[in-house]
Subunit: 264 residues, 2 copies
Amino acid sequence: MKVLLVFAHPEPASLNGALRDVAIDELVSQGHEVRVSDLYADGWKSEIDRADFPELDPAKPLQPSKASGEAFASGALTDDVKAEQEKLLWADVLILQFPLWWFTMPAILKGWVDRVYSYGFAYGVGEHSDTRWGDRYGEGSLAGKRAMLIVTAGGWEEHYSERGINGPIDDLLFPIHHGILFYPGYDVLPPFVAYNVHRLDDAGIERLEERLRERMRDLGSTPPIPYRKQNDGDYLIPSMRLRPELGKPEANGFALHLERPAAL
Amino acid sequence: MKVLLVFAHPEPASLNGALRDVAIDELVSQGHEVRVSDLYADGWKSEIDRADFPELDPAKPLQPSKASGEAFASGALTDDVKAEQEKLLWADVLILQFPLWWFTMPAILKGWVDRVYSYGFAYGVGEHSDTRWGDRYGEGSLAGKRAMLIVTAGGWEEHYSERGINGPIDDLLFPIHHGILFYPGYDVLPPFVAYNVHRLDDAGIERLEERLRERMRDLGSTPPIPYRKQNDGDYLIPSMRLRPELGKPEANGFALHLERPAAL
């Protein structure tokens, strides 16, 4: 398979840097082709602004989604964004690797999403009608591909458990899993999460790396999180509410969007 | 009261720009003192990197939380970060205003959080012992102050409802409300959310602005979201799990952290 790893940590000599190398080595040794977008090393620009749309009339106000749709359609996006879109289309698997900062991704990776996910590429795709609400949530430009997070967290695993004070990790990651990866079509694999990373000893790091190698070996076979596809009939149109007869009444808002909540 | 509004939209001539002006006008006319951090206009730097820590030994790997704690303690943070921290300490109320991009804040605002929320300032505060797990979640440097989001979304309100496909807006915003605002001590007010913003007509915008004026008038009296404080006895230490007898069994992971789930 072809794998794109997007890496968002400022320090190569970090646990994140070590885990990245472990992942890449294992993937290569399994015969996969790997490309890496190292956002810090590449000096990735994080902010969507007017410079992203060189052909936008300077007299016009910037409407980011409109400008992004026009630039995507006319091939007028900047080269850095086009290169990332090309890599996304090339890859069978996308891996986003980052330290969990304030319960989500670092700014530089959010800026990669904001800028690379153009209108017409990652959203605003497909027919909008009485029976379809565009190609999104399981359909879209990146459908048929797999995606997965590799995340490090300073906090304890218990603090991210079902009743932990931070909130359950699956719910904290839902906006990324469902809203950023499933949205343009990816099958989303369960995340690889390393906890308590500032307090790991050598043996702990070794166990972590072995667990990551295993995940990389199973990249093609791990069952994805069973999110419901938007256009398979589970949602009412245009309210996009889950049909009243579906979902356990006691499921939380996010878990409603799983076909088999018990499976997680 | 003293109000700090952090604004994260690239275009002043936008609905966000208009709402910002409405909010400021109303606050000023109520006699409040208002300061604005306009991140795009100020050219805010989004990425935490080595340049944030001028005194860090170039031979040492960058460990962001460690470097941030050392620089905060020795007064060696960069001027832009120090200025924002000073504003946060000055303000009685913090307002974060942004368009919801990919179900969370734009990169530039995440970068404001990543860089301004230093170790020792927004986390790593207070005593860690058998009976206290630091001053966080309701306690900390910013305790006694209020915070609130002003958010615009392109999607429909129904899509963000309890059974809507995007997930409920309260759950989508939980990582910001609870993880970024309540964490360093803020009382978090219910958010102001504008939906369907690309399809609003003049009357719709007028209604929206009136609703925002009302929220600004009630800024001092609106009851905050009733999150449970970490150190008030509801959580076990050190697992930081909610005590088994607390929380409705059918509450979802996030709603468990409300003292009165029904209140929302």
